[in-house]
Symmetry: D2
Subunit: 156 residues, 4 copies
């Protein structure tokens, strides 16, 4: 159960991962009685990371999912805590979408403190489903288009 | 990144794991616009599981940590989502504390729906620290005592 | 802006208010860095109170709203904080549904500490709407039935 | 229990209220199964408003409270809900600090949707306490200085 060096293996022949950085301040209500951010609140920070990536690449945004009447539920979540964030910290969230041939979204995350020290690293895996929760087995057109663009190097 | 069969290997020669079950109803505010419990809220359910185990075995309760002026921050969290909980569900949280020779708390969890179907499985790893966050390297007396009792079979 | 003695005036000729009490433990994640429950978390405690009252009087439960494809959104919320709850506290939530001739739900609440000292008092006002959020002007049959039962003294 | 026109009466001879506006996007996890922001989450938005005002006027910021080893707990909270925020909404939070001769902080808030339509209006009242929760009866020097500056018109 040691810390993995890398959660996903990016094959050199794969399209390059998509990376977006965003900043966010720790909120008062996120800090527990020990003076550190409660561990469950980091799940929200990962969401902030995905939202920032969705702003940059709208094909993987919540808004697009809604439009297409689909969902991308998280099926796996993993967080390695390295150093606690405290009240007043302005964290940097670096979010990476990794290429995969499978019909899923593989995200990894690094959250760092202002001085660059790591706070957490994490990953999530999402599947695509319809609004009733049935997993999609065939990629929808817009996902295929997004992957084509990514492959062609037009996104980076 | 497939689902692990078992997160921790319980050696047959180790003290038997400590297992506690508790029930909890899904709250209205925990359900998202897709009608399922938001994935981040499951972290609270794991906390409920640990609290139930701490009620049964006070040596690993929050109250005891406070008394001893220590903390047991989570350094690793992993959740595999199997089927979504929905509003009105009464979940069962089965929490297991696994024996380890290391100075840490290894918990695994299974949350099931009322009909017994699995909702999630998960694990967390905690270290012991003082209130300034410095990791303890030598087990405090009360932890040693708890482990002795566990070994002797008095807890099961 | 002083503390009101009573939020709703119960006319002696009105049906008696419906009162339900429930208990709940403060959760670790609800406590802030000052060691007291964060003020926003009390809104969840009021929800617990309404759920307990809905368990006793199913006509005003979330489940019934869902069945009837209606909602009862909160249009007014007011909390007077008297003494902070802290970690480990087991609070008692006393929830009162007050009679009103209007098509709304008037709830008041008293949360007390284990020793009986008041923690907060509060009230909420809810309207009835359809699932698109349009306010109902004519009471649905089941609401009328509930009110008839209440008037006839069969609920108390 | 109608909607108050104004929560606090600003006397024309008083120092002008301090007003700060900030924007914030609705988060996915804040939206409930009816597709609208859960009513309890607005308490966080009010906090965002106060933080924005504290950024502009550091004398009333959390950071300053921490430095001075004091707290300003909320003793009264009131929200009037006018129209629900939904996922994707970018709200504007207008926060006003009203002058008062008493040793308290009187805030009012207006949250509006992007098209200017009102979502909620609200107010909070805070007292000053030491870290043990004892209410301050005599204003600390830095609060007096802040009030002097405010009176002299140097803040507006």
């Amino acid at each position: 159960m040691g810390f993995a060096k890398s959660y996903f293996t990016d094959d050199p022949s794969d399209p390059v991962p998509l990376i977006v950085k965003t900043k966010r301040r720790v909120r008062f209500e996120e800090v527990d009685m020990l003076g550190i951010v409660w561990h469950g609140n980091y799940v929200s920070f990962l969401d902030d990371g995905r939202v920032a990536l969705g702003d940059r690449f709208p094909a993987v945004s919540y808004a697009r999912m809604q439009e297409e009447r689909m969902a991308a539920p998280i099926v796996q979540l993993h967080i390695d805590y390295q150093a606690p964030l405290i009240f007043g910290d302005i964290m940097q969230i670096e979010t990476t979408l990794h290429w995969t041939d499978a019909l899923r979204l593989n995200f990894s995350y690094r959250i760092t403190k202002e001085d660059g020290r790591p706070a957490i690293k994490a990953y999530t895996v999402q599947l695509f489903t319809d609004l009733q929760g049935a997993v999609l087995l065939i990629p929808p057109v817009w996902v295929t288009e997004f992957r084509e663009q990514w492959k062609s190097g037009k996104l980076a």
